[in-house]
């Protein structure tokens, strides 16, 4: 199963896991990543985060990167759920699940997908802090994390 969803509403990690693994006895390794809204970013308290995206383009690029992950690793299942809209500290933002017969492939593919999502996916963040609401600038360290995958 290969699944992508860009949605405003929250997701249930336990439910998504059950859906993914039911009737499946070939996936020995399932790796999940859940990205959550942090209360502090670079030392500053953030009361809310709003993610804007480009509907249509987001889904297209997510499908492309998921297909790339499937080419690079022997993935039985993969799942990406990414939220947009306004979120408060502790809320879930993104879920990536990869499943494979072996753990190395599942870990690498999951890390590849989340590195891409966190840096190259067409989302724009604005943060609400005591100083007001402002758009977040792209981070160089995130780009490096995503770039390591192009060396392969």
């Amino acid at each position: 199963m290969h699944y992508i969803e860009v949605q405003k509403k929250d997701f249930n990690v336990g439910y998504e896991y059950q859906q993914l693994v039911k009737d499946n006895s070939s996936d020995g390794a399932v790796v999940f990543f859940v990205g959550r809204m942090r209360e502090f970013n670079q030392g500053q308290k953030v009361s809310a985060l709003t993610l804007e995206h480009y509907p249509g383009m987001t889904e297209k690029l997510l499908a492309k990167i998921e297909a790339e992950a499937q080419e690079r690793w022997p993935l039985e299942d993969s799942l990406i759920i990414h939220r947009y809209g306004r979120m408060e500290p502790g809320e879930q933002i993104v879920l990536v699940v990869t499943a494979s017969a072996h753990r190395k492939a599942a870990f690498e593919a999951c890390e590849f997908l989340i590195d891409w999502l966190k840096t190259k996916a067409p989302f724009w963040k604005s943060e609400e802090t005591a100083e007001g609401t402002k758009w977040v600038e792209a981070k160089a360290s995130d780009d490096q994390a995503a770039d390591k995958w192009s060396e392969k």
Binding site: L51, G56, H82, W124, K125, S126, A138
Partner: protein, 82 residues
Amino acid sequence: MITVLFFASLKEQLGCNGISLSGAGINTINDIKQSLIADKPDWSKWLHKPNLLCAKNCEVVNGDCSVTSGDEVAFFPPVTGG
């Protein structure tokens, strides 16, 4: 008709989500920018930012990429990811 969309900080700077152009005299992405600026000169500053990105029908393209009626063109700042 060409649909033009603006996202994130650019949308706020322009005070506009998007606009429809007739397509007359427009052959490239750069023509769209010129047409928009001809109409609203104060958009020049924002549409000429060097790091501004552009997509045609959801694919990132350069300023000299051709456009035709029915295309959806979007301008946006560098993405900050999810």
